[in-house]
Symmetry: C2
Subunit: 205 residues, 2 copies
Amino acid sequence: MELPSKFLQNAVEQFSTLPGVGQKSALRLVLHLLRKNNDELNDFVASLDQLKNNVRFCKKCGNITDDELCGICLNSKRNHNCICVVEDLRDIMAIENTGTYNGAYHVLGGHISPMEGVGPGDLNIDTLIKRAQTQCDEVILALSTTMEGDTTNFYLYKKLKGCDVKITTIARGVAIGDALEYTDEVTLGRSIANRTSFESSLNRM
Amino acid sequence: MELPSKFLQNAVEQFSTLPGVGQKSALRLVLHLLRKNNDELNDFVASLDQLKNNVRFCKKCGNITDDELCGICLNSKRNHNCICVVEDLRDIMAIENTGTYNGAYHVLGGHISPMEGVGPGDLNIDTLIKRAQTQCDEVILALSTTMEGDTTNFYLYKKLKGCDVKITTIARGVAIGDALEYTDEVTLGRSIANRTSFESSLNRM
């Protein structure tokens, strides 16, 4: 796509590095920014500048925070001996919204993906192992059910096997509200193999 | 959506002012930016800074350019007595891609839309009238076929009526490749009312 201004071209190229944003959408976003008045555009740029300079990662769990430790790690009412391993902040928000978990988290910052050039060294795995070795009863692996998520799960399992912790993973099965006939075979097979006592499901209704 | 960092919250709010970006997509984009290394994030912010400080609008037609006049206005091989009125740069790119137009353009910078708070005073209409009054044979209205586009077309028509120029609009009709049975009544009705000689269509095949 040839644009009449090299500065515009540059901004469009930067925007099209964002996930789900192609060249056309990037141009749409940049043209919208150009239509903003000067103050609004300044605010936009300043917000990114501040993000770059001020946002920190929690020293303990890797979550995003403005301080040294995040709110969850500082909360004394939570069970810090149970660590739920997630990919990023959005997973924490999703789990927190369920209101069913009261433990701590550990944010990996992604998943192992050779295709995207992300190896185990790029993730917060060493700090997880250190946390698992000291004061920890259970590590819950709560990564996405994709191939990359499963690879990462298995890598973490191998690494954590040496530590004296219970390693669990979130249940896979038929989602609430789903019809059996439309569920894929792998999920349905897994939900039968991992069936639970009916009485325990009653307690959760 | 409550986020653990006010700087993150601020950046997400800024991103969600962009068209088609909701709070969830904005968070996704900002988290992606945070995963970039420092140099990459600096490049991103710098591209917006440069955009803000260096991009200019062509003094004649309102197109985006790095100089005083855009490449199309400077091109002496084009017919500058024919002005095609469009909403923004993307429309120029679309028309240029057809390879069928050799005149000049005039970029309005949007359309009249009381709902979005855009009135005639917010668009480059005065400069268009001035151009139409001096050295101009034809003004082609090429705005979107939406209600806002039609309103703007009508407003421009009223304003341009006093000038000694031919006012035309791009043809509306059944798109090439479309089946008649799936075409809406308004478009089909318009295509019958504005039928053209078969011979003239042969010349364009």
